[in-house]
């Protein structure tokens, strides 16, 4: 299956050992778009690596920006103005909604429903337009800077974001009628690909894939960073841990993201959006870790400094890598169409896995 199969969402090859329609042993083959981001991170000053962060997970790039700037800020002891942190949260959450909308459409497309992706792209387009105005790009953002953000948001951004939130809330009803209550969809997703707690621990599964199994683990709550503790939001969880639960978790997460954005817009403080940062940032000797909640789970940057501005070691722990690694166990002895459903429900982004 792959590397050009439509339901692998990128260049991923899965070698399947089959018995008729039953999958005996699915083994993913990675590395088709491996770019050695870690080496790039270790061979240039930390500012120069900023654009790379968005090229890993191009669907949800802002949390990748967020993790990297926060890591350097923690390492170099840089203060960030409050307004900048609010803007980071607002834009990151918008990006998360865009990512979930894209996933929703793509997953349903995998299952044979063509219409939802058109609705999903329609809504996502609004977010891309909003973000393009402030960040300057539509997908591979490089908006955050060490000590703040590139530029302030304006009234137009606030207005269009509020209008979008209003619009998306209405659209949720359409999605519910079209997808959530659709009997064909439920039959394809219910009780398929059940991830247990033990399995999540053994493979390091995080994000909505984990929360579908009833474990309320969200870095935004469990290891609070930025200004997330100031907002009131829930961490939706499922019960069984099957594909349907993972779907429900993501749909409910979109609503929670909208709540965070609304609160942040209401309480947006005034002030500067960027603090004074030396041109050459010295990374003191010693290691440092920073974890953020990306749309697909835990993203960890692990850095070792050596006193220069070039990181001595930069390890990037991406969520989809660990999430996909459970496929051989999860996909053992199931029907081939169910494997497509499982892989779709995992929300894989291949450039992120291969790095």
């Amino acid at each position: 299956m792959g590397p050009q199969h439509p339901s692998t969402h990128g260049v991923l090859l899965v070698v399947l050992e089959m018995d008729g329609e039953y999958v005996l042993d699915p083994q993913p083959v990675l590395g088709f778009i491996h770019r050695m981001h870690e080496k790039m991170g270790e061979s240039r000053p930390c500012q120069g690596f900023m654009p790379n962060t968005a090229r890993m997970d191009y669907v949800c790039a802002l949390p990748y920006n967020h993790g990297y700037v926060s890591l350097i800020e923690r390492k170099a002891g840089i203060e960030v103005p409050k307004r900048a942190e609010y803007i980071r949260v607002i834009t990151s959450e918008l990006n998360r909604v865009a990512s979930h909308l894209l996933w929703l459409g793509a997953y349903l497309l995998d299952l044979g429903a063509f219409t939802p992706i058109l609705y999903g792209f329609d809504d996502r387009e609004h977010i891309l337009d909003i973000l393009e105005d402030v960040t300057g790009s539509r997908l591979t953002y490089c908006y955050y800077r060490f000590g703040g953000v590139y530029q302030d948001i304006d009234d137009k951004f606030v207005e269009s974001t509020r209008a979008f939130i209003k619009r998306l809330r209405k659209r949720f009803d359409i999605y519910e009628k079209l997808v959530t209550k659709n009997i064909i969809f439920i039959k394809r997703a219910e009780n398929i690909g059940i991830i247990s707690r033990d399995m999540a621990i053994r493979y390091g599964i995080t994000g909505p894939n984990l929360r579908g199994s009833g474990i309320a683990y969200d870095i935004r709550k469990n290891e609070p960073y930025s200004v997330y503790p100031e907002f009131d939001f829930e961490v939706p969880v499922g019960e069984r841990g099957d594909c349907l639960d993972r779907y429900m978790v993501r749909v409910r997460e979109m609503e929670q993201s909208l709540r965070i954005i609304e609160q942040a817009l209401d309480t947006l403080p005034d002030g500067p959006v960027r603090s004074k940062v030396p041109k050459k940032i010295k990374l003191a000797p010693g290691d440092c870790n920073f974890a953020v909640e990306a749309a697909r789970g835990e993203l960890s940057y692990y850095l070792v400094g050596d006193g220069t501005s070039v990181p001595y070691r930069l390890k990037i722990r991406v969520p989809s890598y660990s999430n996909l690694s459970c496929l051989p166990e999860l996909g053992e002895g199931i029907l081939l169409p169910d494997l497509v459903s499982i892989m779709g429900s995992m929300d894989l982004v291949i450039p992120e896995i291969d790095r």
């Binding site: 590395g31 053994r202 960890s300 722990r317 660990s322």
Partner: protein, 180 residues
């Protein structure tokens, strides 16, 4: 604080060196130094306590030659965290000269890919690994390890570690969150 204290005691009992660190400075709570013989026992202890595997990776510094005992200069770095409470653990083990470290993928199956990736990037072998083939790099580059540093760029371990902790710092350690 039961399980947290238990975990520290268990790791110390199997010969691991445990140091508490400042979370707001480093982003993890415990720094564990292991030997190759205790890697598996440590992984089993972490698994029993409910830690999940965050990542496995390598690290390359200048080899040392202490009183005739040579090191390879390579390290394997593990990171674990917990779902129910805030506790992040970094564990590291110095790789002996034969570049072989026991695999932990019989305890944490997720380590399978991480260890293959570490072999790709650093050439560290993991004994008893079921399938230690190239994962992210291609078959032809099997003997090419991109993250090994050139000799002139290598730094000693002291140059890339935190300065030794001031004794006064021990009092203001931030404990991980209590049991949920």
């Amino acid at each position: 604080m039961g399980t947290y204290e238990n975990f520290k005691t268990n790791v110390r009992n199997l010969g691991g060196d445990v140091t508490e660190t400042d979370f707001y400075q480093r982003g993890y709570h415990l720094d564990v130094v292991l030997t190759v013989n205790t890697v598996r026992e440590f992984a089993q202890t972490a698994y029993d306590q409910g830690f999940y595997l965050v990542f496995v990776t390598g690290f390359h510094v200048l080899p040392e030659n202490n009183a005739g005992i040579k090191t390879s200069g390579l390290e394997v770095v593990y990171q674990f965290a917990m779902f129910d409470r805030l506790c992040r653990v970094k564990a590291r083990v110095s790789v002996p000269e034969d570049l072989t470290v026991p695999s932990i993928c019989h305890i944490y199956q997720g380590a399978n890919w991480h260890e293959r990736e570490t072999r790709d990037f650093y050439g560290i072998r993991f004994s008893d690994h079921p399938n230690l083939e190239p994962l992210l790099l291609c078959e032809e580059d099997k003997d090419y390890h991109p993250l090994l540093k050139e000799e002139k760029k290598l730094k000693s371990f002291e140059e890339v570690s935190w300065p030794a902790q001031h004794p006064d710092m021990a009092d203001i350690q931030i404990e991980p969150s209590s049991d949920v």
